[in-house]
Structures are given as C-alpha cells and as structure tokens.
Subunit: 352 residues, 2 copies
C-alpha cells in the first residue's frame, strides 16, 4: 500500500561526505569545502560545478566534523525554566529575531525551575561547546556557576537584575517592580490588600516581586491582609478559584495583587461574573503585561516585563562577543518595566 519512492538515492546507506562531492565534481575536498562555505577564492566555473554536484547528490554537510575541525560552533545555549509560561517563548522570539541575522542558532533547554535539572541541562549544553549561554535568572547552584565561569564563553543571565551576574545580565528588577506596584496601589487609596501567586521556593523572580511589594507596603504602614499560593494546573482556573476562596475568607479586601497575569485574568473574570465592582469595590493587578489581557472584557492592571526586549538585548550581547568584541560594562542592562493601570486600578485617590 505504501509506495516508497526513493530519491536518486545512491543505494548505499552510508551518508554522503565531502569526498563524495569531491569525486563527483572532480576537485579536491578542500575546494568543495570552500565552495560550500563560500570562503576563499574559487573560480566561478568550479563553484558552479561543485554546487551542482552537491545538490544533485543531496549532500548535507556534517557540522559535527566541521565544528571539531574549526573549533567553532554556531550554537547559543538558551536555558529557561519552562515553556508553558508564555513569557519564555516570548523571550525566545526576541532571541531568534536577533540571531536570525547572524550565523548563530539558539538551542533551548528547559529546567522546570529545578536547580539540579538546570545543572544537568547546562552540562549537556556546554558539552556541545556553544558560542554562548543565555540563561534565565541569577540564582544557580555552585556547580552551575563554576561551569559557566570556566566555560570561557559569554554568559548572559536574563530576566532579573537583582544580584551579581557571572558575566553579562539583561533584565528588570523584580524587587523594584513589586515596590512600584505597591506604591501605585497605595496611591490609589487601597488598604486591605490580598496577594496570590505561585509557590515560590524556586521561582526567585516571583519571590523578589513579593518581597519588594511587602516592603513598600510596610513603608506605608500596611501589610498583606491575606495571601495564597498555588502550583500547577490551569492558571486561569486557579486564579478564579483562589480569588473565590480568598474573598470568602477575607471579605473586606479591597485589592488583589496577582503574581502573574494569567491568574489575575482568572480573578478578573470571577469578579466580573459575580458583579463585583472593579476597580471601585476591589482593585486588581497582575504582572507581565501579556498579550492575552488585550482580549479581556476589562483591561487588567499590570506591569510589562519587557521579555521580548530582554531576549533581543541578550542575543545582541552574544552576537557582539562572538564577533570578537570584548566584554563591556554595557553588557549589564537594567530595563524599566512599564506600569499599566488598565481598568482595574483606580486613577485617583479614594475619598474616605
């Protein structure tokens, strides 16, 4: 039933090598190599001859061998905690945008927020001798740090700037972001504030936001009136459920701060459904400024985390270094997250 139409396949199962192309086109392997990499002088005539032969045979160069011989690997290791949080694919997009204009290629590794897994992935990646590493976060195991310090390649730690980087760094201050949001909330006159977020032992950025948040509240003589943490599951649903539970438990809350937009959106939908007046009766805010929010009935207050830009800048640093540029102080960049009040945070001071 299945018709196998094999290409002008050389019958032999052995994959093609430079030698095959060399023989087919009557020049040396070296010349073939030069044509295929477009490097060095080759006469137009032989160039065509070789290209034809390569195409006809269906030759695919062996980068393994090429990399070993040239001591150059055009890969950039990108290590992130997760793919299911849309934030990271967006960083990747930024990285790709930049690397697409260079010979470099991103290779992604996922750690699931586990330091041991990060160590593993890092080791695995470094063993391919990439041209650089882009890795989320500033917190790493000792072994991971050591590996990166000794790798002799550019390392860019992204997303976060609250800490000391190994080499380069591009991100925002999550502590500052938390503070800024707290200040906006306070300024709007809210007083009884609830917090919802992920269980944070390993999500350092969420933790730092929370710390900054409580710190700024404290400065204003306030504290978080209730809090709840979740892990796993559908974030939108969790946001809804946690909001319900919290409002039941602590009915006098007048503001809910969510550690990410997804649970924030769940909370918002819940409030709208229950007819709770937002932002008058209860104010809401999330974090990240995800695109999804644009489609909600009401715009959730949030703070952009600049992830696309972070990806771009990180990739640019790697690209520059790969071109031989030296490390510079400009390789440590702090971006400023933009506060968006949306429709869920009052704009003027509450008259009370």
């Amino acid at each position: 039933m299945v018709v196998t139409l094999s290409q002008s396949s050389p019958a032999t199962k052995r994959p093609l090598t430079l030698r095959d192309v060399s023989e087919a086109s009557g020049v040396s392997e070296m010349t073939v190599s030069r044509v295929l990499r477009n490097r060095g002088d080759v006469s137009a005539e032989t160039r065509v001859k070789v290209q034809e032969a390569a195409k006809r045979l269906g030759y695919v160069p062996n980068k393994i061998a090429g990399a070993l011989a040239s001591q150059r690997v055009n890969l950039v290791a990108v290590i992130i905690p997760s793919l299911s949080n849309m934030v990271f694919p967006e960083v990747l997009t930024g990285i790709s945008d930049v690397l697409d204009d260079t010979p470099l290629q991103p290779v992604v590794g996922v750690t699931n927020y586990l330091p041991e897994k990060e160590e593993e992935v890092l080791f695995e990646m470094l063993s391919w001798r990439p041209s650089g590493v882009i890795i989320a976060g500033l917190e790493h195991s000792d072994a991971s740090r050591a590996m990166m310090e000794n790798a002799g390649i550019p390392i860019v730690e992204i997303m976060d700037v609250d800490g000391e980087p190994i080499d380069a760094m591009v991100g925002i201050s999550h502590r500052r972001a938390g503070r800024k949001m707290a200040q906006a909330i306070i300024k709007a006159g809210y007083k009884r504030i609830g917090f919802m977020g992920t269980k944070m032992p390993l999500d350092h950025r969420a933790r730092k936001r929370f710390e900054g948040f409580t710190e700024a509240l404290a400065k204003a003589g306030l504290e978080v009136a209730d809090q709840e943490f979740y892990s796993g599951g559908s974030a939108l649903l969790k946001g809804r459920e946690m909001t319900e539970a919290m409002l039941e438990r602590t009915p006098d809350l007048d503001f809910l701060y969510y550690s990410n937009d997804m649970i924030g959106a769940g909370g918002l939908l819940y409030c709208l459904e229950k007819g709770i007046k937002v932002p008058k009766h209860i104010g809401l805010a999330g974090f990240n400024g995800v695109e999804l929010l644009d489609g909600l009935p009401r715009k959730l207050a949030s703070m952009g985390s600049e992830r696309r830009e972070i990806g771009k800048l990180a990739a640019q640093i790697i690209a520059r270094r790969a071109q031989g540029e030296d490390p510079s102080p400009e390789d440590r960049v702090e971006l400023t997250p933009k506060l968006k009040l949306g429709d869920t945070l009052k704009r003027k001071k509450r008259r009370d």
Copy 2:
C-alpha cells in the same frame, strides 16, 4: 566588588580535554573515556581516581568529538511551526516526558509556518546528524521531503494523518475532526453557521478542518453562512473583534465555529458580555481543548487535539528505532480527538 572565585582553574584559557584528565589521574585517555561513559571494565580504584580528577578540574566532555568518533548523536530534531501557539509547547512536553528516560535529547527548530524556513531549519538540523526527526505536518517542499527520505534516520510526522507520511506518523485527522464537529452542530439543530479562523494558506491542519467541516455541512444541505479570517495579533482579542463584526454583518447566525480555542474564547467572552444567550441563541465551538478553557466563565465546546499524547507517541517511536528496532506498521498512529460539548453547544435537538 565582584569576587571571582575561580575554580582550581588551570589559568590557561584552553578548554580541558580528555588528555588533561588522563594526565591528572595517571591513566590513559581511553580509560578516562571508559570511566566517564561508564562503559567497559575499569577497576573501582581507578574509576574513583578518574572521577575525582575530572570533577576537580571541572572537565566537561566534548560531545562534538565524541559524536564524530562514535558516529552517534543523541539528538532528536523537533521541527514545529511556532512556539506562541501553546499547542506546540504541549507537544514538546510530551516529547520531553518520554525522552527524559532515554539518552536522547530534543532540539527544537521553529518554522513560522513557512516552507522555505522549514527547509532551512531541516537542513541545519540534519547537518548535526540527529538520531531522528519529529516534524509537524505532512506537507513539505520537495527538497525537504528529499532530505528526510535520504537522511537514513527515523522521521515522524506529527499532528496530522490526512496524507501519506515519509516514514512514521502520529496525529489526528483534522478533516475528520471538522466533520465531527459539523455533525454535532447539525444534530443540535443549528442552521445558520459562521466560521472564523486563521488565514490558512499555510496552516494545512486548519484548512483540513475547515474542509471537513464544510463537507459535512454540505451533506446536510447546509453551508457556512459567513466567514472571516485573521492573522497575527492577540488571538483572544481577534476572536472578540471578529465575532462582533460578524454578528453585526450577519445577525441571524445561530452558531459560530472557531478554528481554535483562543479566538473562540474571545468570542465567548464577547457574547457573555453582550448578554447573548449561549448556547440557546447562539452556539459556539472551538478546537484544541486547551487548558485555558477551564478558567472561563462558561466552558467552550471544543475538540481535544491530543497533543501531549502525540508528542509521547512520536518520541517513543524515535526511541524504539534508536534502539535498533525496525520500522513497523504500528508507527503510523491515528488518534481520535474527543468532542467536548462544554456549555456552549446544545445537547438536544432544537424543536423548530
């Protein structure tokens, strides 16, 4: 300010090789190699000695060299159209789940739905001589097909089964899925049906669903009463906007079929907001069965696309083949998408 505590680094910038470990531990390179790969007989004594030296020096093996020498590369190329559509990260999760228990490692390439880009990515990936390829879709350029046919490695085409695979295949029939949804809609008694989806020249699966859908409608003497296509932007917002536009243009519609859940959710939120009675006045359905739906005020009718399972099965095929197993007819798997009526599709026949 920065304290650089460099490992007992050998001062030299030159990366470590097997020889360094060999010298440090007083045995041959071969023995070191054996210890590090845990292969062949080595005395417990030397094993420890070598491991210590390797750790002390911070040695990271060079897989480039290893792969070249052993002619084995434990990478699996995974080629998908996009990362921003949550569907694909979920497939990746399935793949990782399985490959984590093997020595194999996924490497992801993204094509942005462009055949030329697919060709590029494929070429790039194959030049690393991976142990297998998992690629979305059955439609590829001639050059891409040729490359895969000649690569001499297992190829698993995923997501779709409406077509002839190069080698293995795991997916659902999108044509059938479209038909099935149409039948459910017809059975529920809806008659004036609108369709919204992505611009489809290159999204073959969306196209097939639409074809199956219209085909089944035709069989019942119906046709799509209105349709609209979008591209780019926030899907949730697009869903909202398109729904508004369509209901304005064709007010007598009684059902809206969305080619994915995200725009469906946007449409649902719009309808709820406008007080349109769902599913009585208007029925709604999407496609994919994404987790997000769980958090919506009303559950959107949808059809699961089994993507996690697809990823798993595909990875299992590659893993088996990598172990030397021969191709088998079981390597072509059609999964059955499950229809979920949710709260937006009437359950009984309309009395009219």
